[in-house]
Symmetry: C3
Subunit: 343 residues, 3 copies
């Protein structure tokens, strides 16, 4: 019985620890096809090798969020198996596109620790890095979670709270080598709206909705080898619900945002993210976006939009929080990211 | 809010317009594997590279209907987003097999317009063409839909009704280059019945049935990037049903027809098609076929069968219409196509 | 109506008959991605090309059970379409790994026949062989099923009961060419436990559970082109249940066993197997293993464990049978196999 992985508890983390996560993964056209089957994914750069070549890339990469899910999934057995809550993300950067044939692995460095005042749990900050088979970092991001203590009498560690940017500057973004939007084909991309057509403060209702099924969210979550029990075992909770992996909601909302943001092709940065409320099978997910910032980049024809992406299950659109400052119950996701779009 | 695609309305079409549809798509072994997971697909030519080479092709192509769905899916945002009904198909021809690695795009030309007498909607005929990355047409077909008007006061266009063949002649069919059934392996194909064994008027009950699930039809429909809301959002209709994409029923019926038509390997022509009644999750689809015509072809060992393929959800088999000339409620699909089969 | 496959009945088998099964299948990265989506598959050798190369293989093969399902699926129309029960497996050996791009076909030889005393059915033993496109056998195994007679007056065949080993000896196992675990990376594999850490008699509770969905088991079963009606048609049985393919339970239990047996990478032999009770959608599958035997192998750093793998749907763990010697109702699967693990 001692051979199964009990996961790490709060007192098992020390500042500076580097955890090499298990189960490297080679991706192929199979993962791409499944991403298209599980989400209404239509961004042309991730759909067509020809379109990607027209943008200066060697072929169509794996969706940026698929790369994120693969890297993230590996961390679950070491970081969040005993997590009480997934508290936030910061300073996420996509550094290299991931192509079919690449093999990804992940490591996480512990960069922050703070025991809660109740003495039963604490917050752990890790900086996670995904690398390909050439040792190139394809993605890094900071994530923090609340983790249970195993031994309530374990001494509290010295509190270390990392100094994190509230949002990346546009100059922090890494543009994929060769990316060039000067010959961008707006017709094939599906919408005429370019960087200049979006204004800070503008809100876009993405209109479409998808009602979530158990089989789909479980297939998605397993595809990323995220095997947290709560997503798969209907007998765990008294209400018989399986909690849907937050990343499934992120991908659903981002792909729904095609309708109005078809040219916001690549995700370059993740500034912040909150899983505001749990999502269950039967919920109908809709999405809206708000333009938070705009910037040019050094790459030819490439601009950047900082976007808030909100996923909801019904409720009044365009409102996030109540008078008490808490997320309204219909809000599932509040994500802040940078996307690359033609000028 | 103005950035999302509202779709075209009846008055937005003019005779001769050519619409380049967005989001080209590169296919891989992933799409093939998913086709096998979503449908009981067993035609050997689409399952085995070795078998396909034994028939003169370089390797196993993507299923002809998968190619159709990819081409069709791209047209939805421009042709049928505001459609009230999908009325028919004609003159569909598969011109080149599609192989893993190919990138497909679609264009449609408006070839017919007729405003309805109520002044609220009209019928639009388009000829849609799917092309690969070399600019070769892989598929073309005519489809007509009933589309709402945005502005009821918009002037009616001149009525143009295209002259369409009720069915393709066998001589209209394009046989894939190199196709040769003279060394066809009936054992590996799964049935001994060849062209000569089928008689015009013969009816084949395909026996097997599949009960449809929400997760499966949504995955299939998304895989083809067909994102019409009504297939995905359970809150759209008062009855909470998601309408199943007609192409899902076509693929289910065609793959069920393996049992009795295992050697009707390739689809070469689409003569006509009617989605007789809507299909919903929980329906159990069965299929039967009728041999409508037979012809030889110029390719070695290759014959053609014209087949009616009918999908039902229960009910009396082999009857299509009631005394009123309308499809009986259990009939889902009435499809008329040409298949290639060894002589 | 005579063109559909009625399947073989008991009197259609003769000792020595060799049946070439239809529909060869080329596998790709798509099948691998789907295996990861359908099961919580995390064995590193089947997830990463780099990890597989570190173990002496050219790249990551298709999961051994996926290869088994492809070979098995082809036999269904000829062996088990009229089966009343799938009685057992013996002498299964994996002889060559299967890689993306390989094409598999199956043949079965009838090696045993015994009519039941009721005269209505009989037991058929077949030895099934899966071959790749080079004619190399990748897998062989014996399976026996109880099959209905078509004609109750057909004469009983001479009884032939094959002489089968209750379990393979470790020396019967074929180790894949080049396999070498001397530089095995336990960190990337996910657990530190090696061959020496397991003791005969040890029992491992794999802890995790998965609640089964209709869409998932149907997609899995179709992926292997196993089209037995009872898995797909909810109208066949009075209770409306679709019976889940036994192989789905095998794959679910084996992948759940990662948690505690992460290094039992490859399946080399199948000694015996019983589908103790039927499994239906909504059941939550859990698994436990017992170490039955241990052996060294001639390959560098490679040991073998003989394991009992049990799948359950709730109930008391670690008990298989009641006082009457019958499987308890919560037991779904009792499988006896050899796995390869680093010394």
């Amino acid at each position: 019985m001692a051979k199964t992985n009990p996961g790490r508890f709060f007192e098992d983390y020390s500042i500076g620890d580097v955890i090499a996560h298990a189960v490297p993964r080679t991706v192929s056209g199979g993962e791409r096809a499944l991403y298209h089957a599980l989400y209404p994914a239509r961004h042309a750069l991730y759909s067509s090798d020809e379109f990607a070549r027209g943008c200066g890339l060697p072929s169509s990469p794996l969706d940026d969020l698929a790369a994120f899910h693969v890297v993230f999934g590996k961390t679950v057995p070491d970081v969040s198996l005993n997590a009480l809550a997934n508290l936030g993300y910061a300073e996420g950067r996509w550094l290299k596109p991931v192509y079919p044939g690449d093999t990804l692995r992940s490591t996480s460095k512990v960069i922050g620790l703070k025991q809660n005042s109740n003495g039963k749990s604490g917050v752990v900050w890790v900086r996670t890095k995904g690398e390909n088979q050439r040792g190139e970092t394809v993605l890094d991001y900071v994530r923090w979670v609340m983790v249970r203590k195993r031994d309530l009498d374990a001494a509290a560690p010295e509190t270390t709270i990392p100094d994190l940017k509230p949002a990346l500057d546009a100059s922090d973004l890494v543009i994929p080598e060769g990316l060039d939007f000067t010959d961008y084909d707006f017709t094939l991309a599906g919408e005429p709206h370019r960087w200049a057509d979006y204004e800070v403060g503008e809100v876009i209702d993405h209109v479409d909705g998808v009602t979530i099924e158990e089989a789909e969210h479980m297939m998605a979550t397993r595809l990323w080898q995220n095997t947290a029990k709560v997503h798969f075992d209907a007998t765990l909770r008294e209400d018989g619900n399986r909690l849907i992996y937050g990343g499934h909601v992120i991908s659903m909302a981002r792909t729904l945002s095609f309708n109005g943001l078809a040219n916001a092709q690549m995700i370059a940065g993740l500034n912040a993210g909150a899983h505001a409320n749990p999502c269950y099978s039967g919920d109908t997910i809709k999405a809206w976006s708000e333009v938070l910032d705009k910037a040019e980049t050094p790459a030819p024809g490439v601009g950047a939009l900082r976007l808030r992406l909100v996923a909801t299950k019904g409720g009044t659109p365009f409102t996030l929080k109540g008078d008490d400052g808490k997320y309204l119950p219909h809000v599932l996701l509040d994500l802040d990211y940078w996307a690359l779009i033609p000028l």
